[in-house]
């Protein structure tokens, strides 16, 4: 079993009337089974409302399955007494950094998690140092978070999660609000954590370019996992992706259009360099 495993996962959002009776149900996750290996970098794609955020919230027991089971490092997330252990193993980073930062000094914000876990003070500082260093924000430790750029804030939020030493970090559109450089900074930091610290990364994104460096890509539609495979396998299916309201990276689309027009190109081109190479052979 991998670090995160789902079997027959189903989740219904319930709507209640004024008496508290269930008025309506909406199925957000529909029979999802997946198995994520420790140390993998996973990207989850899907249009708005496809169920990817709902799935992510199951990975640290913010939501519990209506049917089926979710395991985080072998622990069934529906076991209430294990809740805090699960949340320490799988940390979560959301879209808006302003909603995640709570302290008035960067280092205190990062120390909040481990302090809450009852870690002794000197160890907290060690963790704060390590986490800030890992995301390249050590020199900002005494700064006020509200003077940081979006990308810097989001890296502080990631350091805050890292300080709890999770095995796995789930990022729900962490770059949606950032400018191009901020986006790059955050992605580089996440890749570094994955490579250096061996943290399993689950990245939910709408930017196809961010998914090409993943080990594996899952595509969700209508609450189901409809495609999975390496980025190359997934992105070579341009038409199928478009039918799920998604896109491919701009160069992949260009390569696809050129090959439609009769240019002989290999399938599934993902980067500028690959296309350049293929065209100038």
């Amino acid at each position: 079993m991998g670090i995160i495993k789902a079997l027959g996962l189903v989740f219904d959002y319930l709507k209640y009337d004024e008496e508290g009776n269930v008025e309506d149900t909406q199925r957000a996750i529909d029979d999802v089974s997946l198995d994520i290996e420790e140390g993998d970098f996973i990207a989850i794609l899907g249009h708005n409302g496809s169920g990817k955020s709902t799935l992510a919230k199951h990975m640290n027991a913010l939501l519990l399955p209506t049917e089926g089971t979710m395991w985080v490092e072998g622990i069934d997330t529906s076991k209430e007494e294990k809740l805090w252990r699960i949340r320490q193993k799988a940390g979560m980073v959301f879209q808006n950094p302003d909603n995640q930062i709570i302290a008035s000094v960067v280092e205190e914000d990062v120390g909040f998690g481990p302090e809450n876990m009852g870690i002794p003070t000197e160890k907290i500082w060690k963790r704060v140092d390590d986490s800030l260093k890992a995301v390249g924000m050590l020199s900002y430790r005494n700064h006020s978070p509200n003077r940081l750029s979006g990308g810097q804030k989001q890296r502080v939020a990631i350091a805050g999660v890292m300080a709890m030493r999770p095995k796995c970090i789930v990022l729900d559109e962490p770059t949606a609000m950032l400018d191009p450089i901020g986006r790059r900074e955050v992605l580089d930091a996440v890749h570094e954590l994955n490579r250096e610290a061996g943290v399993t990364v689950i990245l939910i994104t709408h930017y196809m370019e961010e998914a090409i460096e993943a080990d594996k890509v899952f595509v969700m539609d209508n609450g189901k996992v409809v495609m999975q495979g390496s980025p190359r396998e997934v992105f070579s299916q341009v038409e199928t992706l478009k039918s799920y309201r998604l896109d491919v990276p701009q160069v992949t689309e260009l390569a696809y259009e050129l090959s439609q027009a009769g240019v002989k190109l290999p399938q599934g081109i993902l980067t500028i360099e690959e296309l350049e190479e293929a065209l100038c052979r």
Binding site: M177, D179, L254, A261
Partner: protein, 295 residues
């Protein structure tokens, strides 16, 4: 109705330790029916600039003219200005506050003096124009998805029949289809209704695809104001400002360096595809042999 900025500067917290010169000596003119993009990294002054366009912020120095009149002149009616220059902010959830979507969109026109009966047709028209489905008109804003909220917020501005529509990152957080969809509808407002569109975006690909003029802000100054492909040709300078060019621009420059005679102006997939095909034919590329006949 053109907007003109003459030597506009703005300073936050002047004469204190927190003084920030957010805008420095801005000079620009926005003509009717333009589709303009504004880019700049976080803190470059672009949000401060657009809030000057409808008099939400008063410049520290300099003048802003709307249709030739000083909008901070003594008898100037800024209320009318604000309904003619509509501004849709980035976070739609901060803009919706009524019990249902239709009432929310009615708020603007009612504020302009229309009765609810008069406002409703305007609101319905605006909602349909941004692709908001009629069956969701009476839903609570809380029941909407991110894309629907954005549409509702844009409709709220559109219902006031603005002549100029300013959109601050209208597509952040939307999936690719939703992104294209909203931008296509905005482009239609520009071409069919003749509304001037000012689009603030972090997506260089969207800017390249939709706008015809691009203003780049850096440290409170306008550093470029030109056709997007001209601006993107300075991609190295853009990177120094925390920005970038579309992927296609990098590709075209790379191909050119390697001897393929492509057009560096191409900054969208469609243009690039055309230019590459032409260049491949010119060099009689082996990639075109057999099966290339229908090109």
């Amino acid at each position: 109705m053109p907007i003109e900025c003459k030597d506009v500067s703005f300073t936050y917290a002047p004469a204190t330790a927190y003084e920030i010169h957010a805008l420095k000596n801005i000079n620009l003119r926005i003509e009717d029916h333009e589709f303009i993009g504004i880019i700049g990294h976080t803190g470059s002054g672009k949000s401060t600039l657009i809030q000057h366009f409808n008099a939400l912020i008063q410049p520290t120095s300099g003048t802003i003219l709307y249709n030739g009149e000083d909008i901070w002149g003594q008898n100037y009616n800024r209320r009318t200005l604000r309904s003619e220059v509509g501004l849709a902010f980035q976070y739609p959830e901060h803009q919706l506050f009524e019990n249902d979507v239709l009432s929310d969109v009615c708020f603007g026109p009612m504020n302009q003096g229309l009765t609810r009966e008069e406002a409703e047709p305007e609101a319905r028209k605006a909602l349909l124009q941004v692709g908001f489905k009629e069956k969701n008109f009476l839903k609570s804003p809380f029941e909407l998805s991110g894309g629907q909220k954005k549409r509702a917020a844009i409709a709220g501005v559109l219902a006031m029949n603005p002549k100029i529509l300013i959109l601050d990152e209208p597509t952040a957080g939307l999936d690719p289809r939703g992104r294209d969809n909203i931008l296509d509808q905005i482009a239609e407002l520009q071409s069919v209704r003749g509304i001037t569109i000012i689009l603030v975006s972090h997506s260089m690909e969207d800017i390249a695809k939709y706008t015809r003029r691009l203003i780049v802000m850096n440290q409170g100054e306008v550093v470029y104001d030109d056709a997007p492909h001209e601006v993107f040709s300075h991609y190295e300078e853009l990177e120094k400002m925390g920005l970038a060019a579309p992927q296609v621009t990098y590709l075209m420059n790379g191909l050119k360096k390697r001897g393929l005679p492509v057009d560096l102006k191409a900054d969208t997939v469609a243009e690039a595809s055309k230019s590459i095909l032409k260049a491949l034919r010119e060099v009689d590329s082996p990639l075109l042999k057999e099966g290339g006949s229908h090109v």
